[in-house]
Symmetry: C2
């Protein structure tokens, strides 16, 4: 059957928001990395081996036996009340005071981010984000045709003065400064925390400039020592969307997260979630609620903190031995990620395919900027591989980067 | 803390796509109907009482015991291969030939519709839809600022000549005719089937006019006698998005559906699903796959067909006794819905709140049009209430409408 003229080019049919999207480099890397036995520093996937699967399996059975016609039926768009109660208890650990009615359960915090962008972002609105920032978060905003403007970080997170400067520049250019997307705890991919003083300062800057705050916090309870920092939301509840996730601290497979929006926007989140998904799965919410009913889940979380600290330590110890001179990285105190800067002239994006050939994969730094920066940077996730894999994988990377540094230096000498 | 000037009005912050959305009358009705013991003809929720919960519960336990670290981890954006294989087998029943790689599993077909609209709809694009049509489907399109243009139906479904006329009118007005949203089987809310002849004719009209087809088919396997009609997709694969759902034929609580897009659009669906949700829950997909592995699920489906036929029969028998003269309804041969037209002058939207007071709820016809029509129409879902509830609820409605018809007639006489 011949294609009609319009259909000869699919591009003609696409919505502008899709047509203008830039292809994702990360997807290419992940596709190339799909080979058996590869050691992955690329995935932000939690290690699940320590979960009490027998207990979860028993709960999963009991829920369906006792309550099947409710578990497998449609449910409230906002999520089930039990889970929203647990979420309020969790948020209290970071100083957030909220009632279950204020919270909207979502199919992962990714859906919550998508709802927020959909409700609030017009084409060409500017969203500020840390430099570097979570690729999947920025993709949500650019998916609604927002422009991302990066704001520099240092060891204490986003630099308030830089945010002020960036807002002024955006304003001067006639664009709409809509909001700040920030991951204040164990930032993805930078691994840094926004200091307590800066949280308040950053919030004030946003408030005084009429900006919204998109506070994305999947890692807040995953500090190696269990310490938590106060959220931004409590001081700026009328402008902050707080996003939480069960994916990193319990399990991503349930696809459950939440959003606590400003009260004035609450009904928009409920209605938009209903329009796009009807409701998050009731069964999954019941299973998670049951797991959270038993206080033992917090011991499990502590166990995970130790596991991740051990993996982090193994990674850093190996990197110190194997990486070429001039390589630097930060010292996160929790979360999943280490941010590595290679010596100038080493191209982490070009080298990743060779690295995959040798059996290791990481995410090139360019994935975390929307402006082409990051060629000599990379993110290493230490959450999923075992300690042995971490040592082996880091050693392999070290060889590759050391060789690359050698040729880069040789080229420099030859050129000089 | 004082609100900044911008925040004094939340409306100023909203994206245009949300600001311009009209408030949903159905939500008001559903809120009013949340009282214990109400008999609901409003929900499109399947009856779940006949599901083999013990079998499902055992499978749910086994999957987590055997395979927990996979079930509760992130998964492929496209969905798990086993489920996509089952989906291909299912689609074959309606004449669709597809490979598992062609299919994208979604978090309910609602998410699939949302993906399609997001990928393909620009603001002010026109989407044609049956008059009346599924409120939640139209809301997805209008959520991306599409305009819905209704096309009349008769007992054989959408009228091809009317579609041609509507396309010509839209073109003449300078607007973009983007696609047709159709529910060809046991249409929601009309209960009618698009005849086989018209399927081809409607497809040709779309193809010849460069329109996409959004073929939404949650009810296709729910004919009372088990007969299925051929899908539109096989004859027009390059322009058709076919949407399937497990919500109506198995259980909505798993939140699983799928889309089969044209090959040229496939990667956009995978990528956009990843951006908005990462992936549908692996555990739910495994549980559903396991259920479909046992051919007994088809006997269960047959059992459901009989249950729904019995409910439908009870509803129609009662309506014949109780509804005022001049009321009419169609004779669906499957699905969940009966479409009722009241005598002129009876306002189903105004009366629904009185009906709720008396303990019964339906959805007023106005919910299924975007142009204000349908005041003397209503949708009755016979899927969820028991046969006894159906008889009792229909009798209550009959009293109310008969009284309303009496006053309407009296007013007419007085006015005459």
């Amino acid at each position: 059957m011949p294609l009609s003229a319009d259909l000869a080019s699919t591009e003609n049919l696409l919505a502008d928001r899709v047509r203008t999207a830039r292809p994702s480099e990360v997807r290419k890397v992940f596709r190339a990395a799909q080979k058996p036995g590869i050691i992955s520093f690329a995935n932000g996937a939690p290690y699940l081996g320590a979960l009490p699967f027998e207990q979860l399996a028993a709960a999963a059975q009991r829920i369906l036996s006792d309550n099947g016609p409710v578990s497998l039926q449609y449910g409230a768009s906002q999520g089930i009340a039990e889970l929203r109660r647990h979420i309020c208890t969790l948020m209290k650990l970071e100083g957030i005071v909220a009632a279950p009615d204020d919270v909207i359960v979502t199919s992962g915090s990714q859906q919550a981010l998508d709802l927020a962008a959909r409700i609030l972002v017009n084409p060409d609105d500017v969203i500020f984000a840390e430099a570097p920032s979570y690729a999947g978060g920025m993709a949500v905003f650019t998916g609604y045709q927002a422009q991302i403007v990066h704001v520099p970080m240092d060891a204490d997170g986003l630099i308030p003065e830089e945010l002020e400067r960036a807002i002024a520049e955006v304003r001067a250019s006639g664009r709409t400064a809509k909001g700040l997307y920030t991951i204040p705890n164990f930032q993805n991919p930078g691994g840094v925390n926004l200091s307590v003083e800066r949280r308040r300062r950053v919030g004030e800057i946003c408030r005084d400039n009429g900006l919204l705050i998109f506070e994305d916090n999947p890692y807040g309870l995953l500090g190696f020592d269990g310490a938590t920092l106060p959220a931004i939301q409590p001081d700026f509840p009328d402008i902050t969307m707080y996003f939480g996730s069960f994916s990193k601290m319990i399990a991503p497979g349930l696809r459950l997260g939440w959003v606590l929006p400003p009260a004035a926007l609450h009904h928009h989140f409920v209605n938009t979630s209903e329009t796009t998904l009807l409701n998050p799965p009731v069964y999954n919410q019941q299973l998670l609620s049951t797991y959270l009913d038993d206080p033992a889940w917090q011991d499990k979380l502590n166990e995970y903190r130790n596991i991740y600290r051990e993996k982090f330590t193994a990674l850093v110890e190996t990197l110190e031995r194997v990486m070429p001179d001039g390589t630097s990285w930060n010292r996160p105190t929790g979360g999943f990620y280490l941010w590595v800067t290679l010596p100038d002239g080493i191209d982490a994006e070009a080298l990743v395919y060779e690295c995959i050939e040798r059996g290791v994969v990481y995410v090139p730094g360019t994935a975390f900027y929307t402006d082409g920066r990051g060629r000599n940077e990379l993110r290493l996730s230490f959450c999923l591989p075992t300690v042995d894999e971490i040592r082996e994988g880091a050693a392999l990377m070290g060889e590759l980067f050391t060789a690359a540094a050698g040729s880069a230096a040789a080229t420099k000498v030859a050129a000089g």
